[in-house]
Structures are given as structure tokens and as C-alpha cells.
């Protein structure tokens, strides 16, 4: 069982991730709709894993990864990206993200990724 913070500006995405995760025995301990909120919540909650959308208003996922990694170098962040965002994903990896999943994603892959880390 992993404690997970789900970050996405789209409520639908957060809900579907939450559903997938919870039905596989993980716990979604927090949700955030932009990078800034995500950083604040990370500091509060200290989840095991963060799933991070890339394009978000106010503060995007890459900046958020940087800030989270600054605060906690061991933080484990998985990026949730769409096709065509290769450059952003690369930047996110350089910023310290541990991996990424491409939308639309399969439940198996999400769970596999979460459990690998």
C-alpha cells in the first residue's frame, strides 16, 4: 500500500486516477489542482509517491517537481503526460521525476509504475 498525492488540474483525471489506485489497494492521501498547491500539500502530507500532470495553470508540473525535489531530494514523482509532450517529459526527468505515464493510460501500467518505485 502506497500513500499517493494526485496532482492534476482536471477533476476528471484526478477522479479516475484515484479510482484506479484505490481499487488496487493504494491510498490517495491528497489531491492538488496545480503545482503550487501540490508543493504545499507535499510538505504537509509527505506522501510516498506523487503523480504529476505537466500542463497546469499557476505552476506547471515541471516547476512543481523542481520545488518538491528541492524540499525532499528523495521524493518520488511520476509524470502524467500526453503524447507530444516529449520535451516537457524530458525536462521533468532532468528535474528529478522518476518516470512517466502517457495518457491515455492503462490501469495496469499505472499500478505497475506505482509499485515499481
Amino acid at each position: 500500500m502506497k500513500r499517493i498525492l494526485v496532482v492534476d488540474d482536471a477533476g476528471f483525471m484526478r477522479a479516475s486516477l484515484k479510482m484506479m489506485l484505490e481499487r488496487n489497494g493504494h491510498q490517495v492521501v491528497g489531491e492538488a489542482e496545480n503545482g503550487l498547491v501540490a508543493v504545499t500539500k507535499y510538505k504537509e502530507i509527505r506522501p510516498d509517491i506523487v503523480t504529476m500532470d505537466i500542463t497546469m495553470p499557476v505552476c506547471d508540473g515541471i516547476k512543481a517537481v523542481k520545488m518538491i525535489k528541492e524540499f525532499d531530494p528523495d521524493a518520488k514523482v511520476i509524470m502524467i503526460s500526453s503524447m507530444g509532450q516529449e520535451c516537457f517529459v524530458r525536462d521533468a526527468i532532468l528535474a528529478g521525476a522518476k518516470g512517466f505515464i502517457v495518457k491515455p493510460f492503462k490501469e495496469d501500467y499505472v499500478i505497475q509504475a506505482i509499485e515499481k518505485l
Binding site: E86, I93, L94, F100, I101, V102, Q112
Partner: protein
């Protein structure tokens, strides 16, 4: 593995890559000059010098490496400090000198000589220039630092050279090759690969990986496909043990399978340890990549050493990706470079196969036999040989772009020396021509361009006086037309001087008919006569009187034709018609006595029978025929080549009308045998050159047919 055997491929690769990089560099420099600034190309220039420096150091070519280093320093300064008051033309001149030096040395290597040139003067010049630049621009306190760290970098590089008997000594103790496969449809496999590399760099020195340009994220879907299909391969050195490495890599997200192999340093061992599924072709790529990757590795190592932020390192790597793309053959893993001699051999063999096929299918033993199945099989064979021929042919086709791009430099250099400003427009550089032809037209083209710049274009003042824009324009154009490739060299200069050419031709006794009957075209064509030059002043570039005839000769040697057209004060256009390939032509077989000749079908206009009455004989006994109101001379092959034949009566034989250079003659032969594709073979050296014979070919029955050189016959 002896020293010689193992060094060759490395050296070859060095030469190949360096020359390619230099061409690119030259291009960037010239573009920079056009933009009178380095903004758009500085990263590329810097990167190229950096790469050359690294590889030259690996190969222990000190002078090249040091020179490249000094140029790199110069551009490093330009890039980091962005000094003002930079005279980009001066810099470009200096750098081009350096480029020429490196090119010369590399060409020496290519010819099996020692690169013994001394670059110290050039290096000093560049260093002085950089010193000046710094003092003028009041260099900030950090620039000495950056230079010293740069020097450090070189020392690091020099430790990094690879020689065959002393394999690269990486400090890490184990070397591994890992093949990673990702889950199907996990998306962005290239970025996953990038992520793996990024992760590995924390624990290991990454030596190389395949596909190579995963670092360049943008839209490389073919890489994703390769990774999806064959997995992502990476070779790295680390102190960690096999299990630890496996453990680390297995944490990769969405990993489907992972294979890790322990390997030794030797190339051969890498190949030996490759998974069985890999085919030889891949191995060849491997060899190539290994070298390339060493360069890559070197450059990233160097920038680490440079103690710049990882951002800088990344920007370096980013640049490596797309630029490698330009050098098509070195980055796209689906491309391998092949020794041209092998291709020639292949072409020859295909030629032989085409002949053998004809020998079999047209075998005299088969005559009169009912062989339905045989013919069916023969048709299949014929189809396949044709396909094979096409494929081999296409392998040999190379775009003209390299040849054309070279002209930029020539135009630039000459323009500066002669104080003319010139714009060179290049059209259709993607047009493809047989490699052999490209090689042989490069010099003639250079000559034509030089002529255009030197003789054709006027001085700016003169141009303005004539109401033309001060900058002259030269257009270099290539296009496909039917089975030919046309190349045009066009200038908007003063045009050819008709009267001067006429006068000169008169003096040289070249005019054989009344002057008022000469067409402009005929007059202009005199410039292709040996020793013909109307230019009074010999300049460094042209006007020595040798040239146009050699150009014309070279062109006709590859089966091409050259035309000239000119309008006074409007410019001159030289058109060159080239065949796509030299090796195989369509030919009409004809018989004269017991001999067979082949006429290239391309030059045949028509063939027909004539009656004796249609033949007109002039006072000197020359025969002519009147066809549709035009009179054409008759060339009796049996007379021309003194062959015994029973067919001497025009009534009995056949006339083949051929054209070359818009001149037409009627060849008289005994009979037509039929049209077929023939493989052109040069006449053996021990046979002296015979007028009108361009080569020979083997016929299906094994007999030899001489190929008529129509251009030679009509003149």
C-alpha cells in the same frame, strides 16, 4: 588484432566524419557571413569544433586538435561573453583558414599520408586574435577562468584517446551492455530511454546507446518504434556488480524485459556478446556507432569536466542530436556507409548478371524449341535482374547538394579577392546523380563558377552604370528531365563577346564555313576549343586558356554534353546534360559485316530504308540524303571502319539517323539487330582510342559489340 587492421575503421570514420563536419562548418560560417553575425550558428560552429577537437585528440592528431581547440576557444568566448564590435568577416577569414588546414590534413590522411602540417602559426593567429578581442572588449573577470577550465578540458581529452593496442581506459571497472524493452503502447519510448540514460549517469559512465538520438525529444517516432521493436541498448561502465546494475535498471517504470551482459573493451567482444537475433547489418552499424558514441561520450565528459551546470551539458547534448541528423549517414541508424569500391564491384557484378541472363535466355541452343516453362522462368529472372539493377543503381545515386554547397565557399573567396559582391542561388540541389558522375563533374563545375565570377560578372561600378544591381547573381540549378540530369550555371553578367570570340576563332583558324552562316551558338561553342581564351589578363582564378575545353572534355567523358548560351549584358548560361548513370544504357544493336555495333538509343532519331535515287553525292564524293527537305550527310560504317561487307548498296542496308549536339548524321549499316540494355565497359587500355568508339559491351551470345560514340562521329 594487429595495429593496422584495427586502426583502419577508426581512421576511416574520423576522416569521413571530419570532412562532413568541415563542410557543415563551412556552410554555417558562410551563412553567418551573410547574416553578418553568429547568432544563429554559433552553437553549431562551437559544437563542430568541439567534436573535431575531441576526435582528433583521440586519434592523436595534435595539430588538428590544437587548432580546433583554439577555434573552439574563440567561439566559446564569442558565445559566452557576446563581445561587441566583433568583425565577423575577420573571424570568418581566420576560421576558414583553419578549416582549410584541417581539411588538408584530413585529405592527407585519406590519401594514406601523414598529417604533417604545422598549425602553430594559425593557432597563434587565432589566439592573438582572441587576445585582442578580449582586451578590446575589456574581458570580465570570469573569462580567464573559463579559459583555464577549457585548457583542463583538453588535458582530459588527451587522456581519452583511443588507440588499437591500448584500449580506452575508463576508470570504471566493469562494462555492461543492457537491452531494455518497454511495455507495449507505453508511449514515448525515446523519452523512457532518455530517462534510463539519465538514471544511469548517476552510477555509471554511459559509453553509448542505441538508438542514439533519444536525447533530442522532439517527434522522433522512428526511434520509439525501434525501441519498441528491438529494445533500447545501452553500454556503460560502472563499479557496481552485475546484480546491483540489474537491480537498479529493473526499477525502470513500465519495463517489460531486461537483459544485462558483461562485456570487455574490445570491439570484437562487444559484437560477440550481442544477442543472437542481431544480424550482421546491425553489427556494422554497431562498429560505426561505437566510434561515434566515443565522440559523444567525450563531449559530454568534457563538459562535465568543464564544471558547467548540467543545463550547459544538456544544451551540448541537445545540439548533438539534431545536428547529427544533418549528417544523414552518421546519425540515422538505418544508414551505413559503404566503401565505394564495393559498390563498384557490385555494379560490375550486376552488369555481368544482366549479360549472363541474356546469354541464357537468348542462347542459340534454344532456337526453335518449344519451351513454355523455360520462357516463364526466364521472364521471372528477367524481372528480377531488372529490379536488382534498379536497386543497385539507386544505391549509387547521390544528391548534388554537397557538390553544389562547395560552390558557396568558392564564390565567397573569389568575390572577396576580386571585390565583387555576388549572390549564389542554388536550385534543385536534391537532384540525384550517379556517384561516379558527381565525382567527375565537381571540378568542371568549379571551373564554370570561377569563370562566371571572374569573366562573366562585371565590377559593381560597371554593373551600376549598366543599370543592374551592384551585386552579381550566379544561379546553379539542377533538374531531372527524362533520363537526363541538367545542370545550369547562369550568371547575369556581361555575356560572351561574340566579336572577340569570332576574331580569336579566325586567328586560330577554327572557322571552316562562311562567317555569316555561323549561328551564335556555333560561335559561342568555340570557347570549348582547346587553348581558347579571350581574356587578356590572366588572373589567379581563370583565363589561362586551359579550362573550357577541359570542362567540355570532362563532361563528355561522363557521357554528358555542354551547351552555352549568352545574351550581351544579360549574362551567360552554361547548360550541362548528364546521363543518370554511366554503367548501363539502352542500345540499338546493328550489324556491319561480321561486326556488331551498339548505338545508344538515346541519340537515335529514326531509322529507315532509302533508295539509291534519294542519295545525293557532292563534288567531293560525300553522300547525303534528303529527308523531309533537309539534307543530312551519310556515314557508311563499313567505309569508316574499313570492314568487309556484302552490303554496300544503300538499297540493301539500313539508315540510322543519329543526333548529337543538334547535329545529325545518317549512319549506314547492314541491318538492325534489335534494342537491348547493355552494360558499358571501357575499352581496355591496350587498345588505342578510336574515333567514334565510346566503349564496348558483351552481347548475350558472348560476342563483343563496340558502342558508338555519336558525339565523336558527328563532329
Amino acid at each position: 588484432m594487429t595495429d593496422n587492421v584495427s586502426r583502419e575503421p577508426m581512421l576511416d570514420m574520423f576522416i569521413f566524419e571530419t570532412l562532413q563536419l568541415l563542410d557543415q562548418l563551412e556552410q554555417s560560417l558562410i551563412n553567418s557571413e551573410k547574416e553578418s553575425g553568429f547568432e544563429s550558428s554559433i552553437d553549431e560552429i562551437f559544437r563542430i569544433m568541439h567534436t573535431i577537437k575531441g576526435s582528433a585528440a583521440m586519434m592523436l592528431f595534435d595539430d588538428i586538435s590544437k587548432l580546433a581547440h583554439s577555434i573552439e576557444d574563440l567561439f566559446f568566448y564569442l558565445r559566452e561573453e557576446k563581445p561587441e564590435n566583433v568583425n565577423s568577416t575577420e573571424i570568418i577569414d581566420i576560421v576558414l583558414n583553419g578549416v582549410d588546414f584541417i581539411k588538408n590534413e584530413t585529405v592527407k590522411l585519406e590519401n594514406g599520408q601523414e598529417p604533417d602540417g604545422d598549425a602553430s602559426d594559425l593557432i597563434k593567429e587565432i589566439r592573438d586574435y582572441l587576445g585582442n578581442l578580449k582586451s578590446i572588449n575589456n574581458a570580465g573577470s570570469d573569462s580567464p577562468d573559463s579559459e583555464s577550465s577549457h585548457t583542463l578540458e583538453v588535458e582530459k581529452d588527451q587522456k581519452y584517446y583511443i588507440s588499437s593496442n591500448k584500449a580506452a581506459s575508463t576508470p570504471k571497472s566493469h562494462k555492461y551492455e543492457a537491452v531494455l524493452k518497454f511495455e507495449e503502447q507505453c508511449g514515448m519510448e525515446n523519452i523512457r530511454a532518455f530517462s534510463v540514460i539519465h538514471d544511469l549517469k548517476e552510477i555509471a559512465d554511459v559509453n553509448y546507446f542505441y538508438p542514439e538520438d533519444v536525447i533530442d525529444g522532439g517527434g522522433k517516432s522512428e526511434n520509439s518504434e525501434i525501441i519498441q521493436k528491438d529494445g533500447f541498448r545501452v553500454v556503460f561502465s560502472t563499479d557496481l556488480g552485475l546484480d546491483e546494475v540489474k537491480e537498479r535498471l529493473s526499477h525502470t517504470i513500465l519495463l517489460k524485459s531486461l537483459d544485462v551482459y558483461v562485456i570487455n573493451e574490445d570491439l570484437e567482444d562487444i559484437m560477440g556478446d550481442m544477442p543472437d537475433t542481431r544480424e550482421t547489418e546491425l553489427k556494422e552499424q554497431e562498429l560505426k556507432m561505437d566510434g561515434k558514441a566515443n565522440v559523444l561520450n567525450d563531449s559530454s565528459q568534457a563538459s562535465e569536466q568543464n564544471e558547467h551546470s548540467s543545463g550547459r551539458q544538456l544544451s551540448n547534448e541537445k545540439k548533438t542530436g539534431p545536428s547529427a541528423d544533418n549528417t544523414a549517414s552518421s546519425s540515422k541508424q538505418s544508414v551505413i556507409s559503404v566503401n565505394i569500391a564495393k559498390l563498384d564491384k557490385l555494379m560490375d557484378l550486376v552488369g555481368e548478371i544482366v549479360i549472363s541472363e541474356a546469354m541464357v535466355t537468348q542462347n542459340p541452343d534454344l532456337e526453335g524449341l518449344q519451351l513454355d516453362n523455360f520462357h516463364k522462368a526466364a521472364r521471372q529472372l528477367n524481372k528480377l535482374t531488372n529490379e536488382l539493377q534498379d536497386v543497385v543503381m539507386s544505391i549509387r545515386m547521390v544528391p548534388l547538394s554537397m557538390t553544389f554547397q562547395k560552390m558557396n565557399r568558392i564564390v565567397r573567396d573569389m568575390g572577396k579577392k576580386l571585390n565583387k559582391s555576388i549572390e549564389l542561388e542554388i536550385i534543385g540541389e536534391e537532384t540525384e546523380v550517379d556517384k561516379n558522375i558527381i565525382e567527375r563533374i565537381s571540378d568542371p563545375l568549379i571551373h564554370l563558377i570561377r569563370n562566371a565570377v571572374d569573366h562573366g560578372l562585371e565590377d559593381p561600378d560597371e554593373r551600376v552604370a549598366k543599370g543592374k544591381p551592384p551585386a552579381g547573381k550566379i544561379t546553379l540549378e539542377a533538374k531531372n528531365a527524362g533520363g537526363d540530369v541538367w545542370i545550369f550555371v547562369k550568371d547575369d553578367g556581361r555575356g560572351l563577346d561574340r566579336e572577340k570570340i569570332l576574331k580569336k576563332a579566325r586567328e586560330a583558324g577554327l572557322i571552316h564555313k562562311p562567317e555569316n552562316e555561323l549561328t551564335d551558338k556555333e560561335i559561342y561553342s568555340f570557347i570549348f576549343t582547346p587553348g581558347f581564351s579571350t581574356k587578356e589578363n590572366v588572373t589567379e582564378f581563370s583565363g589561362r586558356g586551359v579550362g573550357m575545353d577541359i570542362v567540355s572534355n570532362n563532361i563528355s567523358m561522363v557521357g554528358g554534353t555542354i551547351f552555352v548560351d549568352s545574351v550581351p549584358d544579360n549574362g551567360t548560361t552554361i547548360s550541362i546534360k548528364l546521363p543518370l548513370t554511366l554503367a548501363i544504357i539502352n542500345g540499338m544493336s546493328i550489324k556491319v559485316g561480321k561486326s556488331r555495333y551498339t548505338i545508344p538509343t538515346i541519340s537515335i532519331k529514326e531509322s529507315f530504308k532509302v533508295k539509291n535515287e534519294a542519295v545525293i553525292t557532292d563534288s567531293e564524293g560525300n553522300e547525303m540524303i534528303m529527308v523531309r527537305g533537309e539534307v543530312y550527310p551519310v556515314l557508311r560504317l563499313h567505309k569508316f571502319y574499313k570492314i568487309n561487307t556484302e552490303v554496300t548498296n544503300i538499297n540493301d542496308g539500313i539508315i540510322v539517323m543519329v543526333e548529337s549536339d543538334s547535329r545529325v548524321i545518317c549512319i549506314f549499316a547492314d541491318e538492325l539487330l534489335g534494342e537491348q540494355q547493355v552494360v558499358v565497359k571501357a575499352l581496355p587500355k591496350y587498345i588505342k582510342k578510336v574515333k567514334g568508339i565510346g566503349g564496348c559491351t558483351l552481347l548475350g551470345d558472348g560476342s563483343i559489340s563496340l558502342i558508338l560514340d555519336v558525339a565523336g562521329l558527328v563532329s
